[in-house]
Point group: C2
Chain length 227, copies 2
């Protein structure tokens, strides 16, 4: 179906060699010229592949000096998450993390929220209410927008960024399990009510209640996604 581009394929192969330990952190990669010969492609493709790895933080290049594997690159992580992405177990991992992070975030949000974030939560709720079955991705977007608004209310950029990263993983996992639509739509009313509960607790500034409502919500969603 999807034809993978040459550059991407080569990037994956080089990354695998790094993860595998063929080229260890701090060591120098072969020159671009040699990589061209090795993979039988042009230098443009090699450079495209390398720039992908550079953006990932796996390698760095010094003009005239060569390309080196980053010292503090822990390739295992990428590998692990990549591998388990195709597995439904990734939902369990993901929600274990969310159940740790988000209830605490809801607590902080209840203490620090401003009108701006409350408005964002409200408009996300509106979106959620008006979603029709045909477009399930809109429901997911609204869901994300709500949880993002909660996270933003903590005013902690590190937590916000982390949540964004989790969403990326979430989407990849969702893309590989297609039965989401029915499940989520069927329980639209319940899910909506749970979000409303979280919102009201945050609006009222009741930190502990917000934490609990968020935890309950995540438990229910997890139960629906992992039978």
């Amino acid at each position: 179906m999807k034809k993978e581009k040459v550059a991407h394929r080569i990037a994956a192969e080089i990354l695998e060699q790094i993860v595998e330990g063929d080229v260890k952190p701090g060591q120098k990669l072969p020159t671009e010229k040699k990589l061209c010969e090795k993979y039988g492609v042009s230098r443009a493709s090699i450079r495209e592949a390398l720039s992908e790895l550079k953006a990932q933080g796996a390698v760095t290049s010094k003009q005239g000096g060569g390309t080196y594997v980053e010292q503090a690159f822990h390739g295992e992580f990428f590998q692990q998450v990549m591998v388990d992405e195709s597995n439904l177990a990734s939902f369990r991992y993901l929600f274990e993390m969310r159940k740790i992070l988000e209830p605490e975030a809801a607590m902080l949000a209840a203490e620090r929220r401003t009108k701006k974030e409350l408005d964002a939560m409200l408009s996300a709720l509106e979106l959620m209410k008006g979603v029709d079955d045909a477009e399930s991705h809109k429901g997911r977007d609204a869901d994300f927008a709500f949880h993002l608004a909660v996270m933003k209310a903590t005013h902690n950029p590190v937590m916000i960024q982390t949540f964004a990263n989790l969403d990326t993983i979430y989407k990849k996992a969702l893309a590989l399990s297609f039965e989401e639509k029915q499940e989520i739509i069927r329980n639209k009313q319940i899910i909506y009510k749970e979000h409303e509960n979280i919102f009201e607790a945050i609006q009222a500034g009741e930190a502990e209640l917000a934490r609990l409502q968020c935890l309950i919500h995540l438990r229910n969603v997890e139960k629906k996604l992992t039978p």
Copy 2:
């Protein structure tokens, strides 16, 4: 000091336009040809810049179709964390996150650890003991290795990856505040003892104790880093 490469500069400029809202999610970017004229560089540089954005998840390209801003790209996050990196407030944000994540991880680690991870923790402790004042970065590496081993003991790749991301932010923040050495080295004994406490709780399988020891440790480290 550091001469920034053309491709990187252009990638930053395009990213700023996206964050600024000039090009909204789902919309099409100008063609590579037009970008060449706009920035006065060759297509190779433009493609290098775009491939950086692609790797970041900001845009996607379809051969023959054009380059589009990713629907679910929330550029604000990158922006926020980047900006606050240079501020010492980022330590507070970072430790707020760590205090949420790691004690829970220590708890899970106490329940799930295997001999492999316990060994990793032990060798990290050994490293920590043998570190001499001259090389403070080795002390930091040992510290990271220990906390990483704890995180790995949860056997949750999502949490491991998240922790790795946090470490990246941590290192960037450290690089901008130079007074770490004296502080950390002076309290070497105390820090070491705290790590040992965490290790013993995890080894004994006492989850709640592990959680507490980890929380205490993080509070102390934070106190030292943010006066």
